[in-house]
Subunit: 299 residues, 2 copies
Amino acid sequence: MAFDAIETPFGKSDKIIGGAGTYIAWSASNFTKPIKQISVVGGDFPKKQLRALEERGVVVEGVQIKENEKTFFWSGRYHMDMNTRDTLETQLNVLGTFEPVVPDSYQDCEFLMLGNLAPSVQISVIRQLKKRPKLIVMDTMNFWMEIALTDLKELLTMIDVLMVNDSEARELSREYSLVKAANKILTMGPKFLIIKKGEHGALLFHNNHVFFAPELPLEEVFDPTGAGDTFAGGFIGHIAKTKDISFENMKTAIIVGSAMASFCVEKFGIQRLTEIGKTDIDARLAEFVQLVNFDIDLV
Amino acid sequence: MAFDAIETPFGKSDKIIGGAGTYIAWSASNFTKPIKQISVVGGDFPKKQLRALEERGVVVEGVQIKENEKTFFWSGRYHMDMNTRDTLETQLNVLGTFEPVVPDSYQDCEFLMLGNLAPSVQISVIRQLKKRPKLIVMDTMNFWMEIALTDLKELLTMIDVLMVNDSEARELSREYSLVKAANKILTMGPKFLIIKKGEHGALLFHNNHVFFAPELPLEEVFDPTGAGDTFAGGFIGHIAKTKDISFENMKTAIIVGSAMASFCVEKFGIQRLTEIGKTDIDARLAEFVQLVNFDIDLV
């Protein structure tokens, strides 16, 4: 949970609420409750943001508040294609020394979503759980491949589903073809691999199966920040709601995640996620069905 | 119909048979016959290539053979991403003075596919047809937007379906968002717009409807040359076979086109297209169904 300041070709935000955990919780809380959040913020993080999450069924007992420190801050500028960005500033602040503590009341969790953070922090959460969750999903990024590859490789053997984007999949596997990259990564631990391709959709790999979910073509992508986290939140939210960890149900979960991400990019930060409800999500899911649905008689 | 010499990160071809018309005919002839081909070649174009097409039900009466001239030649080199390429050499040869002649026996054609060529040549073919085809589909490229925009704009008012790639759609519309680009292009004449995104699939726009067809994730894209033309051939082949020009059937036609394109890229030039038959195509179409098929209950 963090502060972001974002510039896009279409506008510039103030310092706004962000962070993987924030997006995941806002997104997943449309589908399941309670959600048991683990994170760290500084005294500058607005308490009303935590209250807003609690009202949606998010338990914040595991969110450490370090009153005399500052919340993580990131600022960045997106290029015209909205798929690439430059980091302008990163202030680690409370994240620099973050040691997650899993409260006793969290020990019953069946589904674990590890947002992008240092692999050692992600490992620590898994190690504190007395009973292994039914499904452990993990997001990461190229930064950790460069500075914490040993931890990351250990973590990969502990999880079920890895989410990365296309360039991260290439970096981790050292393969250019995404099919070859997927085959290699699936030998490194995870049983399922989701490769996010930004506006070009997402791929799910499992054994020799592959599923593709498109992104909805939008008139305007206003701010892509948090889209991947919002996708993750929709994915794990649907899985937790249905308690079904089959490949078939993961396909549906990816469509749900894609639908949630398509809302996220419509406004700065979490704004759009705070506005939508069941009717909006249903309508968006119906658009996805229309988008890819076709009839075919084999020739 | 042309000669190509191709370099990719994976290999280099000799001077091989290529050209939009060649790929379209090889692809479409899996679905419908007769196909009535209009093109021009020089005396250096192997007669056995024309015989091979005739054996597949392609009528070549409209293919002019200029015995004392040379066939169009293109050579290019693909970058690692296989989506971008540099032209190394272009020899217009017979294409420099090409005036298409539509034989009387072609006047009954119901479906017209205009492969990428000068808009004035494409217009000439339409003008020679006494009865307007049920559907006119046209492919073009950025080159014509730069040197023949007036002709191109006139042509757009004469056709039903335009096929372009994403950068061409952006250039023609002067819009970055593909949704905005599509909306603008649909005011310029065509009732249907297909935007090809290479390995990222294809979009079909019509009124306020949009359909997305993915590309099959392949271990190796060996040579993308002709993939767009092969797509076009599968598209028009399916339309001509079914004689159904509805939006719903165009969705299926795009999947068929995508399946055909996925074969094309597996080997240099038309090689792979000469090897496949109904069983291969059926199996590939079944893979597409698996790739995008999902169940969803609205949340």
